[in-house]
Amino acid sequence: MDTLALLIAATLASGTPLAIAGLGLLINEKAGVLNLGAEGMMLVAAIAGFAAAFTTGSDIAAFVAGAAAGALLAAAFGVLVIWLNTNQYATGLALSLFGYGFSAFVGVGYVGQKLSERTAFEVPGLGQIPFIGPALFRHHPMVYIAIGLIVVAMWFLYRSRAGLVLRAVGESPESAHALGYKVRWIRLLAVVAGGALCGMAGAFLSVVYAPLWVEGLVAGRGWIALALTTFATWRPWRVLLGAYLFGGVTMAQFALQGAGVNVSSQLLAMLPYLATIVVLAVISRNPTWIRLNMPASLGKPFHPGT
């Protein structure tokens, strides 16, 4: 039982950065902008967060710094693709590569540095309940904040007027423009918000999860988050579910190995990606599903006045 509780706990922690970054990218994509720079933004945010935590000793400062770094890079990306109409795919890839190099460059002095003592977190009272306590209520606050963010995003996208406008911009920028909405500014806001969320995910990895800084720390989680938005067919709660599923498969695989069960680690390691491809194949076969969920103008530049 204890093992299961610990497995659940590890799954929640492992899925959290994926959920936060995935949510950020989902908001981008709902506004019609595809940002392949997630990996780069997360890396730069990871070193920014680590540096902030290292200097101030505060987790809050680390997440603020991470979010700011992500937002800043996203803003640069936004200006390039929204106003200068550069190719979103190429610019996003460039951002990823830039982020990798830049984070390594500024992070040299932080390799092998150690953060101050982490305190163990526990929800008062609930953390002591057998099984449920260790499984659900002894996490870093960010694990719960991630769930909160998903709920807020669900409300925002589907229950608020601003969310409706954001989705309109992603579905049909021409119509939104004709109605008098500033398509470019709304897209920029969405991109910046997405960048800030990716940044928080990056900071979580370097400050809470690992916790250390080395070059290439994010190790592909930005790409998993990108796959996750498709896997979730652009639904926030499915992003959360998918993130826990991806995290859970990894952790279950390790737990099985640790228990001496003979499983092929290579096979299990590829399962999340296989699941993504299956979902893609399933939703792509059905035009209605695609139309219902995928933002119609995803990745397409918008020129007002044409």
């Binding site: 550069t86 460039a94 390594a104 390799v111 092998g112 990895l205 720390l217 190995q257 640790g258 001496g260």
Partner: protein, 383 residues
């Protein structure tokens, strides 16, 4: 239409520029820029043409592990030979067609000896070696030789065995955890040596192994470490390249080891000892041999005897008699009397792999494909 294509072009150019800047990541030591100026200012000096030596790295020099250790070796060469040598390195070279290009490029630039420091560089190195018969190539951890290509390695398992002795003395749950990269002989030797070492002080030891199918992914290394701790392991070791396992142990109040580099400062409470590898002595020998014209193509494996390995910074919490035992085995390594795989070696299915008191030869060690008694689970195979 034309604007769009121009803009697209601009975007692509930007990508290309970034790729050029980041992807290649070639760095030359500043010393090199200064060197050609020297003969001009001192024309009297007799042909002070320095020997050019180059290194190809799999990771960044800032990985604080494998590549860092190789780069320390390169710096040792610079310190030893000073102006007589000019070193270059290329970092983060993937084990793909890129490697061949980088190695050929370095050979064409006039490097007289090229060290390729990852197993996956074996075929590319072999191929380029055939094209440049005058250049010497040295490939780390491989097994294929050519007239102008040698291979070299160190005896990590000697370290792992000593760490095992310490781990066996420190565990309370009698359960050790090993975060493995890939089930290749090198890693299996380390797992087995670690377990055998622990069994010398604590016969009840079990070792749990988790494979992560990568050499470097700090969050994944941390996850694997956490799952081992969850499964009851209280002393961890890893054959991966970051310090994440050690830091996870620190977070959970367990013990762990540093690997490839001194990691004592990163997790002072959890750190039991660091398993070191020193490439410097071999690099100095190889470069010196090329200078003297005595270089030979051979397979060289160095360990304690040659100063290529070491278990350092043993935690004060480790009992004195254990420290003494570690020192004794170290002396045995140096004298050539101690070997972690001295028989009898029995695998975890009960089959005898080496009879009592037999000393294993290199061919035996090259083919380790089993877990010794005390390691849980099976070696993953493709079958």
């Amino acid at each position: 239409m034309s604007t769009i294509s121009k803009r697209t072009l601009l975007g692509l150019t930007a990508v290309a520029a970034v790729v050029g800047l980041v992807g290649c990541g070639k760095k030359e030591e500043p010393k090199q820029a200064a060197a050609p100026a020297a003969p001009a200012s001192a024309p009297a000096a007799p042909k002070a043409e320095p020997l050019k030596a180059a290194w190809v790295y799999i990771g960044p020099v800032g990985d604080a592990g494998w590549t860092f250790a190789h780069d320390q070796g390169r710096k040792a060469v610079e310190a030893e030979f000073g102006d007589k040598v000019k070193t270059t390195f290329v970092e983060k070279v993937p084990e793909s067609a890129d490697a061949e290009r980088v190695i050929r490029d370095l050979a064409a630039q006039g490097n007289k000896i090229i060290f390729t420091t990852s197993f996956g560089y074996m075929e590319p190195t072999l191929k380029v070696a055939a094209e440049f018969p005058d250049v010497k190539f040295e490939h780390a951890t491989g097994y294929k030789l050519a007239p102008n290509m040698g291979v070299y390695d160190t005896r990590f398992y000697q370290d792992a065995y000593l760490s095992g002795i310490i781990a066996g003395a420190m565990t309370k749950t009698n359960t050790l955890g090993f975060v493995g990269s890939f089930p290749i002989p090198e890693v299996l030797r380390n797992i087995n040596a670690f377990t055998l070492g622990a069994q010398t002080v604590n016969p009840k030891i079990k070792t749990k192994v988790v494979w992560i199918s990568t050499w470097f992914d700090p969050p994944k290394e941390a996850e694997a470490a956490q799952s081992l701790i969850n499964a009851g392991a209280d002393v961890l070791i890893q054959n991966t390249d970051s310090s994440a396992v050690l830091q996870t142990a620190e977070k959970n109040g367990k013990w762990a080891f540093g690997w490839d580099a001194d990691m004592s400062a990163i997790a002072p409470k959890a750190h039991l000892a660091s398993n070191m590898v020193y490439w410097g002595p071999y690099y100095k020998k190889a470069v010196g041999d090329v200078m003297n014209g005595t270089w030979k193509s051979e397979r060289t494996i160095w360990g304690y005897k040659e100063g290529a390995n070491g278990v350092v910074k043993i935690n004060d919490a480790v009992p004195e008699d254990i420290k003494k035992k570690v020192e004794e085995v170290k002396e045995g390594y140096k004298a050539g009397t101690a070997d972690p795989f001295k028989g009898p070696i029995v695998d975890n299915e009960g089959k005898e792999r080496l009879p009592k008191d037999a000393m294993p030869d290199q061919a035996w060690k090259d083919k380790v494909d089993f877990f010794v008694k005390g390691v849980e689970g099976k070696v993953p195979t493709g079958k």
